[in-house]
């Protein structure tokens, strides 16, 4: 008891510093969460949360009866899984390659060029994509035409669109993703490389047996975070890149919530879907973390 008081007496300034960040989280992160109640109400715009009628789980029953919801859920999983397969390894490969570059200046230059797409908003990327991949006038199809290949409907056929969607994702995010891996790579003990080359390991061998194991914890950590997010999907990318002809694949939970919530003003349903998404997200995150702990002895939570 005495030691605690002494501890507080000595360190109270540190705790005082916490007040502002804590208040921020309470006011802006936890405060608005009372809105979750909307999911259990027949929400009336003008009566608000306090005046609307309570309906228990009726809203959820309605949601689980909507075919659009299952489609959105399926697409969310599908797009995120494919993205995980394609976009997750891309920065690792890129980082390994960048690491092998000898010229310092060229390396810096290459890195900067690779980062840039990350800073473009999806709206701009979508505009570029529509121009580049257009069926008749897009540069890609014009080039294909030169080789005698018929135009590919990159934007309007759903399978071709899937490829476009993933490719654009890699283009946008791969460069940015290398930052963390490059930082991790610099942490690998250089004596290991020397030892490896003395033992006769070539470049590829060193990449495989020294660099990769060196950044394994980083890879696992990022993978866990990714898996935790698999039920969540950003709004802008599918919304901007998608269109009516590929709606079978491009309608995901976030766009579904936007449509039912903002456009149709069915706030109860939108909130219920959002809540469902959050709960599944947490479950997946905990699951991934538990598995990671088993495999590598270190989780993130």
């Amino acid at each position: 008891m005495k030691s605690l008081r002494l501890y507080l007496y000595r360190n109270w300034q540190l705790y005082a510093l916490l007040i502002l960040p804590l208040a921020f989280f309470l006011v802006f992160k936890y405060g608005p969460m009372y809105g979750i109640l909307i999911a259990f109400q027949d929400y009336n715009l003008f009566k608000g949360v306090t005046g609307s009628e309570w309906v228990g789980l009726d809203v959820f029953r309605e949601v689980f009866g909507m075919s659009g919801f299952y489609e959105a859920l399926r697409n969310t999983f599908m797009l995120n899984l494919l993205d995980l397969l394609v976009s997750f390894p891309a920065p690792i490969v890129l980082a390994l390659m960048l690491n092998e570059l000898a010229g310092r200046r060229f390396k810096k230059f290459a890195q900067t060029v690779l980062y840039l797409p990350h800073f473009l908003s999806w709206v701009i990327i979508g505009g570029i994509m529509f121009q580049v991949f257009a069926t008749k006038t897009g540069i890609v199809n014009l080039l294909l035409g030169r080789f005698g290949i018929d135009p590919v409907p990159f934007l309007t056929d759903k399978y071709a669109w899937l490829v476009t969607y993933l490719a654009v994702g890699v283009w946008q995010s791969a460069g940015w993703g290398t930052i963390i891996y490059l930082a991790a790579i610099t942490g690998v003990n250089s004596e290991l490389y020397e030892a490896a080359s003395v033992d006769g390991a070539g470049r590829l061998r060193r990449m495989w047996s020294v660099t990769l194991p060196g950044i394994r914890p980083t890879i696992v950590m990022l993978l866990i975070l990714k898996i935790g997010e698999i039920v969540q999907i950003g709004f802008d990318r599918p919304y901007v890149l998608g269109n009516v002809s590929v709606r079978d694949f491009s309608e995901v939970i976030s766009t579904f919530v936007y449509k039912t919530g903002i456009q149709t003003a069915q706030y109860s349903i939108a909130t219920a879907v959002g809540l469902f998404q959050a709960v599944v997200g947490i479950v997946l995150l905990l699951l991934a973390n538990a598995i990671a702990k088993k495999i590598t002895d270190n989780g993130v939570l």
């Binding site: 802006f28 405060g31 608005p32 969460m33 809105g35 979750i36 909307i38 009336n44 715009l45 003008f46 009566k47 075919s67 659009g68 529509f130 257009a134 069926t135 008749k136 006038t137 135009p151 934007l155 309007t156 969540q232 709004f235 269109n243 009516v244 002809s245 709606r247 976030s254 919530v257 936007y258 449509k259 919530g261 903002i262 456009q263 149709t264 003003a265 706030y267 939108a270 909130t271 879907v273 959002g274 809540l275 998404q277 959050a278």
Partner: protein, 529 residues
């Protein structure tokens, strides 16, 4: 996590709204002051918030909320009545979404509007979000009542006046346009039937009269009503009964359930598969691509909102003639149905639905404002400017003076005069001449012709006096479903057309189409009694 983001935004907006409310409350005595403010100077000034569309087109030095006409309103209406008129911008694109958020956060202006659909006002009224206006109009709106006349009735829900429908003078909706110079070059006559349109489009593709080098788009098309409606309506079969019109309309704007619709889509499917229409039309949700293709001389034929192609902005016809010397874009009315009629849709004679939120304390001032605007001389001034400065009168029709100051001044005059879309000069001919007077000289005859064509064989949507509850609930979803049906049915292979169309129609009906049809059938039976 969009949902959380939304709630957060709403919460912030709500707080902002409360703060704004507090700061206003400080210098006001509450709503009771409204009646007393007739004796000007006795009470403190109150603030009336009025929505205004922001189209992002304000000329330098002006904004949507501060310009010549907002000053005019303040000086001529606000100051004499001791009211501060504050204009609140509503973005024209996504207006309905934005107004939804404004209403839910209690931050909507005292005069608010979103679109020309009565369903919006109905939805709000049903949830208790709108102020009943009967007594207020009776007491403060004699001019307004006189100006709108019986049209006011379409703003009623269960007999109570919850919104004020603006008037619409010209009810024509669309125009079809064709490149006359291409026809001349190929020695083709102006197409007069749908079949002839098909032959003409084929000739455009094969002979490429515009020398586009393979880039020719015989029929410019987009995923917008302006492209879809003129064609699908033109296929609707002759001799619809009242029962069909009432029970099979879905307030969509599109005649999906009326006989003939499927054939219209089959026609478009044929055009698409033969490469006769815009290949990426499904991506063009704002007509931008079509307009661009027309202006660069690639398109042979297309349809558009009435009058738009000849307007000074975006200046489609003007830019086309600059880009392609000798290009001649003329209105045409070629599509025919099974009886040889040129069926086409027509607007209801109502414009935007103006509402006053239930939370508003300025109902009296709102009606006073609209009533002031409804006075003939005020309305005339707002719509045309000052005589001699902005327009000259010829045969009772105001012709706009082409000066920089005038075009700057008039850029949003129509958005101030929300109680009407267009000015009524007493006869169709005069109204058309007036509409033509606003475009560059060389196009005026075409505009008159287009307006005339837009009114031949028109058909109006059959609506009941009270809205259909199921439409309020399902229409936004069904709009999406309809787009999907159109896009996929047009883009499928001709052999798969029937299956694709029928499957999508089934999906449409299951997603609310059936519910609307049933309610409409019941309402029709009730009406017949």
């Amino acid at each position: 996590m969009r949902g959380k983001g939304l709630r957060f935004t709403l919460a912030v907006a709500l707080i902002a709204g409360m703060l704004a409310g507090c700061s206003q409350g400080g210098n006001k005595e509450g709503s009771s002051s409204a009646t007393a403010s007739d004796h000007s100077g006795k009470t403190e000034q109150v603030t009336l918030k009025v929505g205004i569309f922001d189209r992002g087109n304000a000329p330098a030095g002006y904004t949507a909320t501060e310009n010549y006409w907002t000053d005019y309103v303040q000086k001529n209406f606000g100051d004499p009545n001791n009211i501060k008129v504050e204009f609140v911008p509503i973005p024209r694109t996504d207006a309905s979404d934005k107004v939804n958020v404004m209403m839910s956060s209690g931050d909507a202006p005292d005069v608010v509007f979103a679109n020309t659909s009565p369903l919006t006002a109905y939805g709000y009224a049903k949830d208790g979000g709108l102020l009943p206006l009967d007594d207020l109009i009776e007491q403060y709106g004699p001019n307004l009542k006189k100006y709108l006349g019986p049209a006011l009735d379409s703003g009623k829900v269960d007999g109570v006046q919850y919104s004020i429908p603006g008037r619409r003078v010209n009810t024509g909706k669309y125009e079809n346009l064709i490149r006359q110079d291409w026809l001349d070059k190929l020695g083709l006559p102006m197409p007069k039937t749908t079949e002839e349109v098909y032959q003409t489009l084929k000739a455009f593709k094969e002979k490429d009269p515009g020398q586009t080098g393979g880039g020719v788009i015989p029929l410019g098309f987009s995923l917008t009503p302006a492209s879809i409606e003129p064609i699908v309506w033109s296929f609707i079969e002759d001799g619809l009964t009242d029962e069909q019109r009432y029970t099979l309309s879905e307030s969509l704007g599109y005649p999906l359930l009326l006989p003939g619709h499927k054939e219209a889509v089959r026609f478009l499917n044929k055009l698409y598969n033969e490469g006769l229409m815009s290949p990426d039309f499904s991506l063009d949700k704002d007509e931008k691509q079509v307009f661009q293709d027309v202006m660069t001389g690639k398109v042979g034929m297309y349809s558009d909102n009435l009058g738009n192609s000849f307007n000074a902005t975006p200046g489609i016809a003007k830019v086309l003639t600059q880009n392609v010397p000798g290009a001649k874009l003329v209105p045409t009315d070629p599509y025919t149905n099974n009886a040889g009629k040129h069926l086409k849709p027509e607007y209801d004679p109502t414009g935007f639905f103006l509402m006053v939120p239930a939370a508003s304390k300025r109902g009296v001032e709102a009606i006073k404002y609209l009533d002031w605007m409804a006075q003939p001389d005020v309305l005339n001034t707002i719509m045309n400017g000052i005589e001699g400065e902005d327009y000259t009168l010829t045969d009772g029709v105001p012709y706009r003076i082409e000066s920089e100051e005038t075009s700057k001044r008039m850029f949003n005059a129509n958005d101030i005069a929300m109680i009407t879309q267009g000015q009524d000069f007493g006869s169709d001919e005069k109204n058309w001449a007036a509409a033509a007077a606003a475009v560059p000289k060389e196009f005026r005859d075409y505009v008159v012709e287009a307006y005339k064509m837009s009114m031949t064989d028109t058909i109006r949507y059959a609506n009941f006096t009270s809205p259909i509850e199921a439409e309020n609930k399902y229409i936004p979803t069904l709009q999406d479903k309809y787009d999907e049906l159109i896009v996929k049915s047009i883009m499928t292979k001709p052999g798969d057309f029937d299956k694709t169309y029928d499957d999508l129609l089934k999906d449409y009906m299951a997603s609310g189409g059936d519910a609307i049809k049933q309610e409409r059938t019941e309402a029709y039976a009730a009406m017949k009694k």
